[in-house]
């Protein structure tokens, strides 16, 4: 049983680290390039797709990271599904 838990944690550690790094890179770009991004995103029209696409990208990367984060610190859903 302990072996299974270790395997489970290891798998989530790996995913969390990779996704955490990608998430960090995305946030770094967002803030270092904020002036350019603000200018382009505020243009409206066809450029409106950019904030929507950015939101999807961040939710995919950061959302998966946060899911794995809670798993590796031992906070996960009750085993019995409702």
């Amino acid at each position: 049983m302990a072996g299974n838990i270790d395997k489970f944690r290891k798998k989530h550690y790996g995913k969390a680290i990779v996704l955490g790094i990608v998430s960090l890179v995305l946030y770094t770009i967002l803030f270092t390039e904020q002036h350019v991004l603000n200018e382009v995103f505020a243009k409206g029209g066809y450029f409106a797709l950019l904030p929507i696409a950015t939101a999807f990208l961040f939710s995919f990367v950061h959302g998966n990271f946060t899911g794995n984060f809670w798993d590796i610190i031992g906070i996960s859903a009750k085993k019995e599904k409702r």
Binding site: Y27, F41, A42, A55, S59, T66, W70, I75
Partner: protein, 367 residues
Amino acid sequence: MHDIATQASNFIDLTTTTAVYLFIVGFIGGLVSGFIGSGGAFVLTPAMMSLGVPGLVAVASNMCHKFPKALIGAIKRYRYGQVDVKLGVIMGISGEAGVLYGASIQEKIKHAFGDAGSNLYVSVAFVVVLGIVGSIILKDVLRSYKNQTTNEEEKVTALARWVQSIHIPGTMVYFKSLNARISVLFTIPLGFATGILAATIAVGGFVGVPSMMYVLGAPGLMASATELVIAFVMGVGGSLKYALHGLVDIRLAMLILGGSLFGIQLGAIGTTYVKPFMIKVVMATIMMIVLFSRGLMIPVYLAQLGVISPLGDSMVKMLKSTSFAIMILALLIGAFIILKAIIKGLIAEHQLNLKLAVKQQTVSGGR
């Protein structure tokens, strides 16, 4: 949205303190939304505005963080078997129409009565809707406590039984959360009302979740999870509308999203540890406190419109800061109840696992 260019060029300068503040508010908002399906967003628009963000940019950025957050929350809770995708999409589409209609009402009121009129309309909507819906949920919660039925399965209301008994040919759809076929002619107005409320007070779920529970007959856990689908569908359309005018400050939206994605995952996990009854407890608590917070602001707007005699500057300042503080308190109390329930659930499960391990060892030792 005439002053769009001015709004867009008014994106604020971000400091580390601002970023941390938004991240934390986002986390708490996400936690509440993950648990009750909505309810975290009402504090974010005023929180951004308190930093000097123009109103429309705050609304747009809030909306742009809401739909990706709702998406992640909905996926998480779908894995727990709590989401009715079909009901969420159908109500979300009619909700989108409600958002557009609600926004046009807002614009008309603003045009006719200015900012004070618009603010008064929002505050009155908060007080009336939360007063009615909040009282219904609170009454239900108190009745469950009184009858000691908090551990029992939720009963379908007489209204929901009636809705489920009506057969209108060509409009009947089966929904798994209701385990019944109902006419979409009932879900469309409910979705529409959810959208109007989302466009008015930023939390459509205060109508969406109770209506799914009490009018359609969905269990609380499924209603709150399905609300995340509705929020996603409405949020994509709403965000696109604002983004077309260049009003989304992507830095603010992604900062709040950063915190709220931690929160929403935790809130969703929390739903697997609590009795369905707890969804109603958290929702009723938040609604009643927020109602009080917004009610405090009504005299301020009435005075600005000249309906009552003017209030002193210090009084206005005091009412505004008290109202904002109470709103934050509502969110913190909601978050506290959820975190307490999660911790209690985790401890109980840990103890159960230990007992099982000991039992297993005893059995294998006896062989």
